[in-house]
Symmetry: D3
Subunit: 334 residues, 6 copies
Amino acid sequence: MLRLSPPGQQRFVQAASFDVHFGGGEANVAACLAGLGGPASFVTRLPAGPIGDAAIAYLRRFGVGTEAILRGGSRLGIYFLETGATQRGSVVIYDRAGSAFSEIDRGMVKWEEALRGSGWLHVTGITPAVSRGAAAAALEAVEEARAAGLKVSCDLNYRAKLWKWGREAREVMPELAERCDILLGNEEDADKVFGIKAPHTDVGKGQISAAGYEKVAEQLLARFPRLQGVALTLRTSLGASHNRWSAVFHDRKDFRVAREHDIIPIIDRVGAGDAFAAGLIYGLNRWPDEPQRTLEFAAASGCLKHSVPGDFNLASLEEVEKLARGEASGRVAR
Amino acid sequence: MLRLSPPGQQRFVQAASFDVHFGGGEANVAACLAGLGGPASFVTRLPAGPIGDAAIAYLRRFGVGTEAILRGGSRLGIYFLETGATQRGSVVIYDRAGSAFSEIDRGMVKWEEALRGSGWLHVTGITPAVSRGAAAAALEAVEEARAAGLKVSCDLNYRAKLWKWGREAREVMPELAERCDILLGNEEDADKVFGIKAPHTDVGKGQISAAGYEKVAEQLLARFPRLQGVALTLRTSLGASHNRWSAVFHDRKDFRVAREHDIIPIIDRVGAGDAFAAGLIYGLNRWPDEPQRTLEFAAASGCLKHSVPGDFNLASLEEVEKLARGEASGRVAR
Amino acid sequence: MLRLSPPGQQRFVQAASFDVHFGGGEANVAACLAGLGGPASFVTRLPAGPIGDAAIAYLRRFGVGTEAILRGGSRLGIYFLETGATQRGSVVIYDRAGSAFSEIDRGMVKWEEALRGSGWLHVTGITPAVSRGAAAAALEAVEEARAAGLKVSCDLNYRAKLWKWGREAREVMPELAERCDILLGNEEDADKVFGIKAPHTDVGKGQISAAGYEKVAEQLLARFPRLQGVALTLRTSLGASHNRWSAVFHDRKDFRVAREHDIIPIIDRVGAGDAFAAGLIYGLNRWPDEPQRTLEFAAASGCLKHSVPGDFNLASLEEVEKLARGEASGRVAR
Amino acid sequence: MLRLSPPGQQRFVQAASFDVHFGGGEANVAACLAGLGGPASFVTRLPAGPIGDAAIAYLRRFGVGTEAILRGGSRLGIYFLETGATQRGSVVIYDRAGSAFSEIDRGMVKWEEALRGSGWLHVTGITPAVSRGAAAAALEAVEEARAAGLKVSCDLNYRAKLWKWGREAREVMPELAERCDILLGNEEDADKVFGIKAPHTDVGKGQISAAGYEKVAEQLLARFPRLQGVALTLRTSLGASHNRWSAVFHDRKDFRVAREHDIIPIIDRVGAGDAFAAGLIYGLNRWPDEPQRTLEFAAASGCLKHSVPGDFNLASLEEVEKLARGEASGRVAR
Amino acid sequence: MLRLSPPGQQRFVQAASFDVHFGGGEANVAACLAGLGGPASFVTRLPAGPIGDAAIAYLRRFGVGTEAILRGGSRLGIYFLETGATQRGSVVIYDRAGSAFSEIDRGMVKWEEALRGSGWLHVTGITPAVSRGAAAAALEAVEEARAAGLKVSCDLNYRAKLWKWGREAREVMPELAERCDILLGNEEDADKVFGIKAPHTDVGKGQISAAGYEKVAEQLLARFPRLQGVALTLRTSLGASHNRWSAVFHDRKDFRVAREHDIIPIIDRVGAGDAFAAGLIYGLNRWPDEPQRTLEFAAASGCLKHSVPGDFNLASLEEVEKLARGEASGRVAR
Amino acid sequence: MLRLSPPGQQRFVQAASFDVHFGGGEANVAACLAGLGGPASFVTRLPAGPIGDAAIAYLRRFGVGTEAILRGGSRLGIYFLETGATQRGSVVIYDRAGSAFSEIDRGMVKWEEALRGSGWLHVTGITPAVSRGAAAAALEAVEEARAAGLKVSCDLNYRAKLWKWGREAREVMPELAERCDILLGNEEDADKVFGIKAPHTDVGKGQISAAGYEKVAEQLLARFPRLQGVALTLRTSLGASHNRWSAVFHDRKDFRVAREHDIIPIIDRVGAGDAFAAGLIYGLNRWPDEPQRTLEFAAASGCLKHSVPGDFNLASLEEVEKLARGEASGRVAR
C-alpha cells in the first residue's frame, strides 16, 4: 500500500505535501526481518506501471525480496495517515477499494516457487479482510506453506473498516488460525475476532493488565490445538504521544511477560505490531529454546518501531538486542 | 480530484513526498473564473471525511463556491502527475476507479438550486468519460441549464484512457455538443472525438498550422447548428519544457487567430486548456462584441497557466489583460 | 495577521524559510467555530493586493466568511513566532505598526450588513490595544451588536507590548466588558487588566489553583452586572513543551472547574485561548442548559489546539466532544 | 530588508512557506564585493531584537562588515517577492513603512568611524526614496565621504512606489549625483529620474540599443561635471525567464559596450544591478587603466547574479573573470 | 559515492541542506541498465555501517545487484555537486581520499563469483584514477572478464583531479583499452588521455563537429586492434542550462552519427555519459546488427538523463526507444 | 566539521536529504560565547575551496571570529548524525580521516597573532585525539596561551573512536590538564581518561549522583595542582528523548551542585557540554566571585542547548540568565 501522510503534525486539510512511504502488515514484517539480517520476501499483487514500480523499489531498498510479486490490476491500495499528538489521535483513512491486491485470488500466486527456500510464512488478518479472493489466497498460502513444511504464523490484526466483502472476521479467521503454529494479536484482537476478553482490562480507558492476558492466551491455545504459541502485544494508550508497550507470550509451557517500555514522544506508531511479529519470528528461529529472550526481543523490536518514521522498523539487530537486554538509556552511539 | 506529484522534476520512483493539489477540468475553470473576479461554483461529488473536506477547503481557498457539492461515496479520485522536462514528457496516471464522482448519476444533484443565480454552465468531456452515471449527469446538467436559460459551453477534452464504461466519446459527446452554445477543444480533440482532422498538421511532430483549423471549426459549426462559436487551443510541443501556444475562434462570422506565445521553460502545463476556457467564458460575457479581444484574453489566460504550479490558473485579471495586449516582457512589477 | 515562524524548533537566526500561517484572536475564534460546523465570519481590514488576498484565501480555506472584510491601507500586520521547546520559551515579535487594521476606525465597517444573520459577536482585547481607532471600532461593534440583539463576548487577551496609543487596557477594557454577556480571560488577564488577583497562585512559578479563580470570577461578575458568565483558562506552564491546561466557568449560579489536561509535547500553543472561546460560544448556543458540558467542551477545544500547527484549531466537532467526555487515549482512528 | 518569497514559482496565495533572504541595494553591493575578496561594510539601521540580529547574521555570513550598523527603531523593512516565469512577471511588494531605516537621519551615523579605512562609498537611489531623513543621511554620507577623500558612486535605482515623503527623485537625486565620481543606472533610470531618453529604444517592448545610450551618458556627464564616469546596465526583457543583459560605460574618453549575455532560464534577477555596481567598483579599483576589462567584469558580475537565489551575487572572482573573458560554456568544474 | 548537492540552484555557501543521492560511473551504468529491464550488478567496496548500508539500499532500490559488493575500510567516497545555471557552471568537489574503494586492490574481489552469469563487464577511467590498487583491480576485472568470455567495455572518463597516485591516465588507460571490445569517451577524453584531437573542434568555445570525430575513432581503432567499436558522446555547451548532445559510433565498418538533441533547461547533467554507455551496451546486446539503432538508442538514453535529478538515468525502455525514434515532443503521457 | 543529519527522526537509510550544520567542540564553545555577547574566535584548519568557505561563512554568521583559521589540506572533516528518539539512541559516525585539521601541527598557527587581545583559551580532548599533529598543536596552543597570560580551560571530551594515532588519552591528556586553570568533563570523562570513578554511579543504567562527583573533582584537583577549578556536567539518560541535566563545580574552596533540569523532549543534545563550557567561561570572567551563579549559568546554558537544532547553543544572555535563576516555565515571550 501507498501511505500518504501530511508532514509533521499537520492535519489533512493543511497539507501542501504528503510524505510518501509504502507499507502494510506483511510487508512491514518482511522489511523488519530483512533489517535484522535474514532474507525475507513479500508476496502481493501490484499494478503495472510506475506507481507499482515505485512500491517495488521501496521494498527492494529495505532488502525485501520482490521476485514473487504479481503485477496486474488497475490501482495500488492507499492509506492516508494523519499523525496525531498529545490528546489528538492519529487518523487512518483506507482507500483500498478496487486495488490490485483486492483482486488477488486462489490460484494466482505460484506458491511452490514463491515459498522455495523459505522456512516461515507469515500472514495477517488484514489480508482476508480485504476481499473474498484475498481471503482465499491467504488460506491457500497457509495450506501450501504447511504442505511445504514451513512454519506459519498469523497476526489477527483486526480492522473493522475493512471487513466488507460478505463474511466476518470471526467466521474467516478461525480457518487461518487452526492451520498456524503461532498466533499473534494485540490487546483488542482476541476480543474483536474471537470474543475472548481479558479480565480487569478496559482498553479504551488505558487499563491494561498483562496478567489478565494469560487467560486470553490459554483460551486461544485451547481453541486451536495446532498452535505452539500465542503472543500478544499490550499497548496502554496515555495519549497519541505517550504509550506504554509490552507483550506476553504463552508457549503452552509458560506464560511470559515482557518488560514494559514507556514511549514518549511517539514518532510513528504504525507498524509496531508488525515489528513485534518480525522480532518474534526472528527469535523463535534463532533462540528456539529461549522464549523469554525471544519475547523481550520481539517487544523491543515493536518498541523501537515507535521511533522510526514510516511503516517499517528500521532498527538493527544490535539495537533491538540492546533494548531487549534493558539498555534503554538512548545514549549517543559514537 | 486529488493530484499527487513528485517535487520538481523527480520521477515517481524517487519521490519521498508528493506535492498536494486538487483539480480537474471543471474545477480548474471555476477557480480561474473566481480568480478573474467573477463568482464561480463547482458541482461534483466528494466522499465524506477529511480527504473530501480537504478538497473543499482547497476550492474555497481559491474562491470557488462549494455549496452544491454532494458528499458521499467511498473515495476521492486521484491522479498522479510526474512533471517532465526537455525531451522527457510528463506522465499522468489516473486512479479514478470507484471514485465518489464516478458514482454520480442523473437525479442526484438538485440542479435548480445549484444553477440558481448563474448565467453559464461549463462541462468537459472528462465527465462523461468517467462512467455511465457521470455521462448521464452531464447531459442532465446541460439540459437543466438550457431550460433555466443559461449559456452552456463544453470542452471536448478527450482522454483515451478514461472511456471504459461501454460507450465511446464519439457516441456520447454529440449529445452534449448539440446542446451547447460554445464548443472548445485542443488541437487533437476534434479528430479524436469527431474524426475531423486539420489539414497540414501533424500534432505528434509538432507541425500545427492555425490556418488549418478554420476547416475544423467550420465542420463543427456545420454539424452542431446550435453552436454560436467554436474555440480551439493549439499547442506546438517542442519538448516537455518548451511549447508554443495559440488558439483560434470561429463565431460563425469570422475565424480569428490569437497571437502565438512561446513558452519556455514550462512550469506546469496541466490546466492550460481550462484556463483558456475560463478566459473565453469571461470574455464572451464581458466583451460580447469584441471576439478578438476575447480570444486574445482566453489565449493569454491559458498561456499564463503554464507559469503556475498546480491545476489552477492563479493569474489576476490585470495580468491576463496585460498579456492579451501583447505585453509579455515579464518585467518585475514593483 | 501574517504569522511567520521558523520551521520546527529553529531559532530566527537559523531560519532559511518561514512557515506561513495567518491568524489573530478573532480570526482564530471564527476558524474554530467554522471547523465545528457553524457559520462564522470575520471582520477586519486588509490591504489591497496579493498579500491581503492570500490572507482572505487562507480564511476561506478554513471556512471563515470574509464578505465583510474591508480592503485598504498599506500593509498587513505581521507577527513572528519562534517556537520554543523544553526550557526555552517561544518568542513572539509583533510587527503591527501601520497595519491596515490599525487604521480602522469607527464608521468604516457597515455593521448592519456585517452582522446580518448572526447571533453572536466576539471581540478580544487585542483589538482595542492596537490603536485608538481600533478601540473605537471595537466599541462600535459591541454597541451595534447589542442593538441588533446579538450576544456579545469579549476575551481580555492582555498584550502588554501592544497598548501604546495613549490609553491603557485598564481604562479601555471596562467599556467593552460592561457591554458584554460573557467575559473570557486567562490566568493572568484579570490581574493585568483589572488588578484582580487569584489567591494562592503564582503564574510565573507554575502554581495555579483552579479554586482560587472563583474569587476572580465573582469580582468580575460583581463589577460588570450585565455579564452572564465569566470563563477563564488556566495554564500551568511546566516548560515550553509541557503544560497543564484547564478552565473555570462561573455563570452566576455555579462555579465550575473543567478536568485538567496534561499536554506533552506541545506542538503549537498559540490560539488555545481562542479555541477555548470558540468552544464556549459553541456550547453556550448548543447546550444552553448544560454549563458543565459546555465548559468541558471549551476546555477540550483549547486543549486540542496545542496539537495543531498554526493559529487555528482544526479539530472536528467529533474530536472535541470525544475529549470533552474524557476520552484522551489518542488511539488511532481507523 | 527582509525578503520573503514563495518557494519556486509559487504565487503568494499558494505559499505555505516563504524563503528567507536579506538584501537591499547597498547591502547587495557590499556582499558582492565581499565575495570578490575585498573588505566591504554596510551601514544601515536595524531594530534591536532577534529579527534585526538575523539580518546582521546573514550579512556577516557573506562577509559583510556590520560594525557600523545602528540598532533601534521598531521594525525591519520587508519586501515580498513572487518569482515569475515565462510570460508572468515577478511581483515585488514593499512593506517598508515605519522601518528602522526609514527613521534614520542626518547625524545618527558616526561617519568618521564608519568610513575609516575605506576607499569608496556607494549609495543608491533607493535610500533617499525611503524618507526625508534617509535622503538627508545619504547626502551626509556622500559629503562626509568626499571630505574624507573617498571615491563616491551612486546608482540611480529609481523605484516609483517608494518616493512618497514629499520630494521627487528628480529634485533630490541631482544633489547626490553632483557629488559623485561615478553614476550608475539601468536602461530606464536616466529617463525616469532626469528625463534623459535613449533614442531608438522602447524598454517596454524590449527594444534596447546599446548605441542609443551613448547620448544618455554624454548628457549625464555634461550635467554633472564632477562625474568621472557613467555606467548603465541594459536589460532586454523577453519574458520573466529570458533576458538579454549588457552594459555600457562612458569615462569621458570613450563610450564602451560590453558583450551581451543571453540568460535563460533566469533563476533570480533581483540584485543584478547591484552585482554590476560591485563589479564596476572592483574593476575601477583593480584595473584603473583598463575600462573595457572593468566594464566586461561588471557586466559578467551582473549576469551571474541571475543564476543565484537571493539578492546577493555569490559568484567568485574566478567565475566573474572567466565569464568576463567570454567563457560562457557553463562546463562542469571538476 | 555519496553525492551531496544543495537544493535547486543554491550555492554551497547558502545551503541549509544537501540532497542525498548515490552514484558514480559504473554504478550509474548498472542502474540505467537495470531500469531498461536487464539484470545488472555493481562491484565496489563500501564501509561497514549505516552509511555504507544506505548506499546499498539506494542501489537496490533502483534494481542494481549488490551481492558482490565488498564491505570494509573507513569511509565512503563523497562528491559535492553544486548545480549551475545559465552562465554559471556546475561545481564538483571530490572528497574521495581514503575511501573504502580507494583501498581496493587486486585479489580482493572474487571475480569468478561476481561475474558468474554475466555477459558484459563495464569499467570507467575513474576507477584506475583513484588509486594504484583501484587501477590494479580494474585491470584484474578486465582480465578475469575476458577469461570468462564476457564482452568488455571501457569509458575513458578522464578526471584530471583524480589522477594523483603516481601514474598518469596516458600510462594506465592503454592497458585497459587494449583488452576491451568497446571503447567509449566524450568529446575531450581521447585528447586528454591519448592526445588524439578532433579537427575543427574547440570544446571550450562550444565548437564541436561530429564529422571531426571520425578521425578520432579511426585512430583509436588503429591503436587498439582488439576493439570492435568506438563510441563518443559530443556535448556542445552553450551554458550550464543549455547543451546540444549527440554521439558517434565507429564499428570498423561505418562511422555513424546520432541525431542531435537540444536540451534546455538541463535538470541534471551528471551521469549522461554513463546513461549513454548503458544504452550502448543494451543496444549492442539486443540489436547486434543494427548499429544506427543502437547508437540512436544510446544517445537518447544519455539525452534523457539530463531531465532526471541524481546520477541515475531513470528513463524506461519505452521512453528511450521513443526518443531514439525521434519523438521528442514531450507531450503528456496520459 | 561538517555535520550531516537526516531531517527529523529519519534514519540514515531513509534520508533523501541531510540537514547541514557545522560544528565541533571548540567551535561550539566559541559560537555560544559569541551569542552571549562576548567576542570569540576559533582557530582551526580548513581546506581551500567552497566547502571550507561555507564552514567559515557559517561561523561568521553566528559571530565567531575566523581570522586565524588556516586554509589548506584536502578535505573537511565530517560527522554524520542520526537523531534518535525515545528508546533509540542517536548515532554519530565520524568521517575525519585525512581532514585538513588532522594534518595541523605544531608551528603552523601563528599563535601570537591568533591570541592577541584574547583573555582565555579553551581546548577540548577531541583535538589531541585526532592526530599526533593535532595533539602537538593543542599543547603548543596551551603553552603559548599561558606564556601570553591567558587563562586556559580544557574539556576532557573523551571520544574512544578517535584515539587511533598511537597514543592514548590517558597518556596525552595529562600534559594538557597540568597546564590548565579549569578542567571540564562529563559524567564519564574522568573515568575514561584518568580512571577516576564516581561512587554510587552507573552511567549506563542512568544512576548518577551529583554528590558522588565531589570525590572525582577532589582527585582531579589533587592530581593537577595548577587547576583552579573542576567542573563536570552530569547527564542522566532516561532515553534519547528524555534526560536530566545538572553539573558540579569545585573551586578548591567549595563543591557546588547546580539545580537539575528535566529535559523532554530533547531537540538536539549535541553541543550541550560545549554550551556548558562557554557558560562557565562567561561566568568565571563576569562574576569571578560568584561561583554558584556561574555554575547555574553554565548548567542553564548547557540545558538550553538541548532545545536548539545544530551544534551551536543559540540562546541569548537573557535566556540563559533567566533559566539560571530557575525560571523554567517556558512561557511565551511577547
